[in-house]
Amino acid sequence: MSLKQQIDSMNMNEIVDLCIDQEQQAIHLYTMARDQAKDEHAAIKFQELVDMETAHKVALQKFELENYLDLPPADLKVTDYLMEPVFNENLSTQEILILAAKREDKTAKMYQDLANHFTSDKKLNTFFQMMADEELRHKHNLETEYEKEFLQEG
C-alpha cells in the first residue's frame, strides 16, 4: 500500500503519528551517527541535528503547528546537485551538511507530494503543506551554513 493510500484510511491523529515517526527515524539516524563519529566536531554537528529534529517531533506531539505557519524562505538549492555522502564514522562537517540538507529536501518533497494529493481536504492539505514548509526551512538553514563556510569562492 502506498503512503497516500495509507493516509487515505487514517484519521488526523494517526497521520500526525506517522509524521512523528518520520522525525523519530531522523533522530535515530543522527543519534547513531553522533555516537559513531570519530571527529568531535562531527559529533557536535550531529547532536545539533538531533536537537533540531527533536524540537520538531515535540511540536508535532503537542500539535503546536501554529509555530510553522510562516512561509519558508526560498529554496537555495545549494546542495541539490551535490553528491550524497554515504553514512560513515569519518564524515566531515561539509559532508554532514550535505547529507542532512538532502534528507530535509527528500522529506519536504514527500510532504509536498502529500499536500498536493489532498487538495480537496483542506485540513490535511494545510497540515502537509506546513510540514513541507518546515522541512524546507531546515534545509534552508543547513544550506546557508554550507554556503557561508564551503563556498567562499576564493
Binding site: 561539509q94 546557508t144 554556503e147 557561508k148 569562492e153 576564493g154
Partner: protein
C-alpha cells in the same frame, strides 16, 4: 596618545595637490604578458612616486593608518617620499611591517588604507600601496643585495619556534628576533614563504622579492628549517619538551583545498587551485621540461570561483597556453571577492568571464579525463549574510560545454594535522585553531594566528595576527603567566 604630525616636505598648496592626477602604474602590455610569467606591474618611477606622494594632503587626523591592519605610519613615510628620502621612507615602513615589498604588491589597499583615505572621498585616493611598493623596491635595489638590519639585541636566552613561513610566521619572527629571542621558523615545503610562494604567481609576486625578505630575516638571526612538517617530522610536544622551545607560534595557513562535491571532480584534468598553483608557482611547471613538474596545457580551461585565487589560476592557465581560459562564477561580477585590479588584468589578458553560471557535473571520456562541464545558469536573489545577492538556479537552464581542464577555487580549509597530533590544541568545527585575540591557544606556550585561526583572509591580516602574537609571546616569555583559552 596623540600622534605627532610628521614633518611636511610638501610645498604645494592643498588645492593644487587635489588636482594632481593619481599616477598610473606602468604595466607589461597585456598581449605580451599573457604569454609570459614576468611581473605584470612594473612599479612607479621615482618621479612618479614623488608626484603621487604630493597628492597626500597631510590630514590632521589621518584615517589611512586606521585602515592598515599593522598601522604603518603612512603619512610619515609619504612625507619622506616628498623629500625624496626613499630609504628613510622604507625604514619608516619597516618599523611596522616586515614585508613591505610583498604587501605593496598583494595587499587589497582599495579596501583598507586607500578606502579610508580622505582624498578618496572626492577624488581618487592616494596610491598608498604603489608608494609602499616603490620604496620597498628602492630599498632592496640600493642595499646592493646586503640586507640592512637593526643592531642585534641582547640575547634573552629564550627559544621560540615558528611553524609556517607564510606572512603570519614571518611577521612574528621579525618582531621576536628584535627582542633577542632565538627564533627558528619551520617550513613543510622546500621553499619559504607559505602561500606567498606556493599560492601567488610569479607575475604578481616575483619569488626574488620574497627571498630577499627572508634573507633580511636570516641576516637578523632568524633560523629557517625547510622540509620539516610539524606534526610528522616532530610533534609540538616534542619540539617543546625535547628541543627546549619556550614558546611556539603556529602560522600554518589554510592550505587544505575544498571541493564542490559534484560528480566528476575526481576525473583527470580536474585540479584544486592549490595543486594547480603549487605545481606552477612552487614547482615551476611553467618551465617544464627544464623543471621536472608537468602541468596539463589545456585547450579550454575553466576555473570555478571568483576570488583572487581563481584570478591567479585563470591567468596562469592562460599563460600556460590555454586557447581559452574562463572564469565560471555563480554570482555576478559585482559580488566577486577578487580585487578589481586582478579582474581588470584578467580581462585585458583575454580571460573570458562566465558569470551567473554554476557547474553541476564534470563529464569524462573512456580514459577518465574531463571533456565537458554540465552547468546551470543562475539569477540573483535576496542578499545573504555577507550582503551579496544570493545566486539561485534558473529552472531549465542546464547546458553543457566542452572543456579539457577544471580548476576548483572555491576556498580552503585548515590542515587537520596539528589537531590530529596535538589534541591539547582545541579547534572549532571547521578545523580552525581556537585562539584568543592575542593568539593564545588552549595549550600553554603555544600561540596561533593568521588563516589557521581566522580561515582564509589577506596577507596583511595574517601579518597583523603574527605581530599581535609576537607581543603576547614576548610578554609570556617574561612573565610565564598563561591565561587559559
Amino acid at each position: 596618545m596623540k600622534r605627532e604630525q610628521p614633518q611636511s616636505f610638501n610645498t604645494i598648496s592643498v588645492k593644487e595637490r587635489l588636482i594632481i592626477p593619481r599616477q598610473v602604474m606602468p604595466e607589461q602590455d597585456p598581449l605580451l604578458r599573457s604569454g609570459n610569467f614576468l611581473e605584470v606591474n612594473l612599479g612607479l618611477s621615482a618621479e612618479q612616486a614623488v608626484i603621487e606622494a604630493q597628492r597626500c594632503i597631510e590630514c590632521k587626523s589621518p584615517s589611512c593608518m586606521d585602515g592598515c591592519p599593522v598601522s604603518i605610519k603612512i603619512p610619515d613615510f609619504i612625507q619622506l617620499i616628498c623629500n625624496k628620502d626613499f630609504l628613510g621612507a622604507a625604514d619608516k615602513i619597516k618599523e611596522d611591517s616586515s614585508l613591505p615589498a610583498v604587501c605593496g604588491r598583494v595587499c587589497p589597499q582599495e579596501t583598507q588604507c586607500e578606502e579610508v583615505c580622505v582624498v578618496g572621498k572626492r577624488f581618487e585616493p592616494v596610491a598608498i600601496g604603489r608608494l609602499e611598493r616603490f620604496v620597498a623596491d628602492y630599498a632592496m635595489l640600493h642595499s646592493n643585495g646586503s640586507p640592512v638590519t637593526p643592531d642585534k639585541p641582547q640575547p634573552s636566552g629564550q627559544k621560540v619556534a615558528i611553524v609556517g613561513s607564510g606572512p603570519a610566521g614571518l611577521a612574528a619572527a621579525s618582531d621576536l628576533i628584535k627582542e633577542g629571542h632565538e627564533v627558528t621558523v619551520f617550513e613543510a615545503l622546500h621553499e619559504f614563504g607559505g602561500v606567498l610562494v606556493y599560492g601567488i604567481p610569479e607575475f604578481r609576486l616575483p619569488k626574488k622579492i620574497l627571498r630577499q625578505e627572508v634573507a633580511n630575516l636570516e641576516a637578523m638571526g632568524v633560523k629557517f628549517v625547510k622540509n620539516f612538517i610539524v606534526g610528522r617530522s616532530m610533534t609540538i610536544q616534542e619540539l617543546m619538551e625535547e628541543e627546549g622551545y619556550d614558546a611556539m607560534f603556529l602560522g600554518l595557513g589554510a592550505g587544505l583545498p575544498r571541493f564542490m562535491n559534484i560528480p566528476g571532480e575526481n576525473l583527470n584534468g580536474v585540479y584544486s587551485a592549490n595543486e594547480f598553483l603549487t605545481r606552477s608557482n612552487l614547482m615551476r611547471a611553467y618551465e617544464f621540461p627544464e623543471w621536472d613538474t608537468p602541468l596539463y596545457r589545456a585547450k579550454h580551461a575553466i576555473i570555478v570561483g571568483g576570488g583572487n585565487t581563481a584570478m591567479d589560476a585563470v591567468r596562469t592557465a592562460k599563460r600556460l597556453g590555454a586557447e581559452e581560459a574562463s572564469i565560471v562564477y555563480r554570482r555576478s561580477e559585482e559580488e566577486m571577492p577578487a580585487r578589481n585590479e586582478e579582474i581588470h588584468h584578467a580581462k585585458e589578458e583575454g580571460v573570458k568571464f562566465m558569470n551567473l553560471v554554476n557547474p553541476i557535473e564534470f563529464i569524462g571520456d573512456e580514459q577518465g579525463s574531463v571533456v565537458a562541464a554540465k552547468c546551470l545558469r543562475m539569477k540573483l536573489g535576496e542578499p545573504d549574510e555577507s550582503g551579496r545577492r544570493r545566486p539561485v538556479p534558473m529552472e531549465g537552464s542546464e547546458f553543457t560545454m566542452d572543456i579539457d581542464m577544471v580548476v576548483i577555487a572555491v576556498g580552503n580549509g585548515s590542515n587537520p594535522l596539528i589537531s590530529q597530533t596535538t589534541p591539547a590544541i582545541k579547534t572549532n568545527k571547521w578545523g580552525n585553531i581556537i585562539a584568543d585575540e592575542d593568539g593564545r591557544t588552549s595549550m600553554e606556550g603555544v600561540f596561533a594566528g593568521g588563516d589557521i585561526v581566522s580561515g582564509g583572509a589577506t596577507v596583511i591580516l595574517a601579518m597583523g595576527a603574527g605581530r599581535k602574537s609576537a607581543i603576547a609571546i614576548n610578554e609570556y616569555l617574561k612573565t610565564k603567566v598563561w591565561s587559559v583559552v
